[in-house]
């Protein structure tokens, strides 16, 4: 068990190192990626600024709490894109064109390899902007954060990334059944819309859906609530349970899909 864990950690680090070497060959591209993501974030900040220009609170959230949510959302999406998103999109072509063969013949868990093969360092660096936004908002709100809260915040972030990974990975794995469907990823982009705003603005039916079957509120709202001191322990346990269930679902669907793999291009 321990040796297996060690082997997989070493492999992860090795893959990350290879990607870093590759990334450093295209340094200007790295800077451009940082720049473009910051512009995109800037536009969201303008949107929030206009909204809070006409009102004081939205769904009970004031402007700095909203900035915290925006920052948290930025960390989540950037770290998810850093580790998993490229891998999930590449998986579609690997399945369709039969390139998955080269993964399957290797003596490692194939899901591990296809999920973590590529790391995107620009997105990883970019997530720091989100931390800065949260830090500034905490300063403006004048609240104190205990080390435990900070730790649990990070735990919920990891949990959120796991849920985003599970949903996107399952979309990719659908390729085993339906072949080419690049627009399915549109669903990922559109679902992350729900992580941007406070859950309080939705009616109960939709809010329950966003807490259970499409747990986008667990992904983004829970970490912020943790920092604001409004998350009960029961919710914390619930969040982790959702994360584990979603992860288990990926393993199940992946193995189901593999049985349909034809190793041929279409």
């Amino acid at each position: 068990m321990i040796s297996t864990l060690g082997r997989y950690s070493r492999m992860t680090l090795l893959m990350m190192k290879n990607c870093l070497i590759r990334e450093m060959q295209f340094r200007s591209n790295f800077v451009i990626r940082l720049f473009t993501e910051v512009i995109w974030l800037g536009m969201q900040i303008v949107y929030v600024a206009v909204l809070y220009g006409v009102t004081q609170t939205i769904g009970g959230w004031n402007v700095w709490q909203m900035v915290m949510l925006l920052g948290t959302n930025h960390i989540l999406t950037q770290l998810f894109e850093a580790f998993f998103f490229d891998n999930c999109t590449k998986l579609v072509d690997q399945i369709r064109l039969g390139d998955l063969d080269f993964i399957l013949i290797k003596p490692v868990n194939p899901q591990f390899l296809v999920s973590l093969r590529y790391t995107d360092y620009a997105s990883m660096t970019n997530s720091l902007v989100g931390f800065a936004m949260i830090g500034y908002a905490i300063h403006r709100l004048g609240i104190a954060i205990t080390p435990l809260e900070a730790f649990l915040f990070l735990l919920l972030i990891v949990n959120g990334i796991l849920i985003l990974y599970a949903m996107t990975f399952c979309l990719s794995v659908l390729t085993f059944w339906i072949g080419r469907a690049s627009n399915l990823f549109e669903l990922y982009y559109q679902l992350t819309q729900f992580t941007r705003y406070p859950g309080e603005i939705y009616r109960w039916g939709l809010r329950i859906a966003l807490l259970t079957v499409i747990p986008m509120l667990v992904v983004s709202n829970f970490p912020v609530k943790m920092l604001l001191g409004g998350l009960f322990n029961a919710w914390l346990g619930y969040a982790c349970a959702i994360g584990l269930i979603f992860f288990a679902a990926t393993v199940w669907i992946w193995n189901l899909g593999l049985r349909r793999y034809r190793s041929a291009s279409s």
Binding site: M43, Y47, V50, R180, N183, E186, L187, F194, Y197, I201
Partner: protein
């Protein structure tokens, strides 16, 4: 019938391009269905978000913001999907810049056809399939939000709306063509293209109605060409453009179309002379 009218005329070859590309895209129509349906999800969050704003402390849902009621706001965002369905031409400027940069333009230049019209037919084919799919997917969605569509447009507004959609399409095509040809002068323009895309997204009023912006910005932003890619068609159909203003709004739009048509033509003529026909 079209064969009877067009065969032998210069327009025939462009018709062939259009119909071939349309048939090709139709093969992937279910991929389009996903694209069209999923794109409406943001409308759900937008409706809830603005509902919360219009019902936040100090408001009771009946106030107006930037002259717009809550119903106007929802109608605006819904009609935006129609307007952007005409004006957004994804990937066109990038494809053109890559053709120029990598020397792929050669294979078009040696053919007896205009590259501009080839690109236009190619994009038009995409739009035709998009609208074919939208014919089935848009009506149910507009039916679901019918309670918010409170303004009944006048005949003038309908007419101006259709003209504004044509303006939206041509500004989309001509502006992106012009931007793409910048690659004749600058080798690497992908960052610039991204900045343009963000500007287009924001200044077209896609993100939020332009009339919510501070007055100083609004007064020039609304006369920029991007406003015609979303803001104006929406404002016309929700009845926010008074009849005496209609001529000015449409007129300025047509001027922009003419401007981009001439500028694009001029840049293309200058650019092709500089073109080195090699990859890089």
């Amino acid at each position: 019938m079209i064969e009877f009218f067009l065969k032998g005329t210069p327009a025939w070859k462009y018709w062939v391009i259009l119909s071939t590309r349309t048939q090709e895209d139709m093969a992937y129509r279910f991929n389009y269905v996903f694209g069209v349906v999923f794109r409406f999800l943001p409308l759900v969050t937008t409706i809830y978000l603005w509902y919360a704003v219009f019902h936040s402390p100090g408001y009771d849902g009946t106030q107006r913001m930037g002259g717009m009621s809550f119903s106007d706001m929802v109608s605006y965002y819904a009609i935006m999907f129609v307007a952007r369905g005409f004006s957004s031409i994804p990937g066109m400027n990038r494809d053109i810049s890559v053709d120029i940069k990598d020397g792929l333009l050669n294979r078009y230049l040696i053919k007896p056809m205009s590259y501009f019209w080839y690109q236009t037919m190619y994009r038009l084919a995409h739009k035709l399939v998009f609208w074919f799919v939208a014919l089935f997917t848009f009506p149910p969605i507009f039916y679901l939000i019918r309670q918010y569509l409170q303004h009944t447009p006048t005949l003038l507004e309908w007419a101006a709306f259709f003209v504004s959609l044509m303006i939206a399409f041509w500004i989309g095509i001509l502006f992106n063509f012009m931007i793409g040809t910048l690659a004749f002068w600058f080798l690497e323009i992908s960052t610039f293209l991204f900045v343009i895309m963000v500007m287009e997204f924001f200044l077209s009023g896609h993100l939020l109605p332009l009339n919510l912006l501070p007055h100083g910005i609004l007064s020039w932003a609304q006369w920029m060409p991007f406003g015609y890619e979303g803001y104006w068609p929406c404002m016309i159909l929700i009845g926010k453009v008074p009849p005496d203003q209609m001529g000015k709004v449409i007129g300025v739009g047509l001027l922009w179309v003419a401007f981009f048509f001439l500028t694009g033509k001029w840049m293309w003529a200058r650019g092709v002379k500089r073109y080195s026909a090699v990859g890089g």
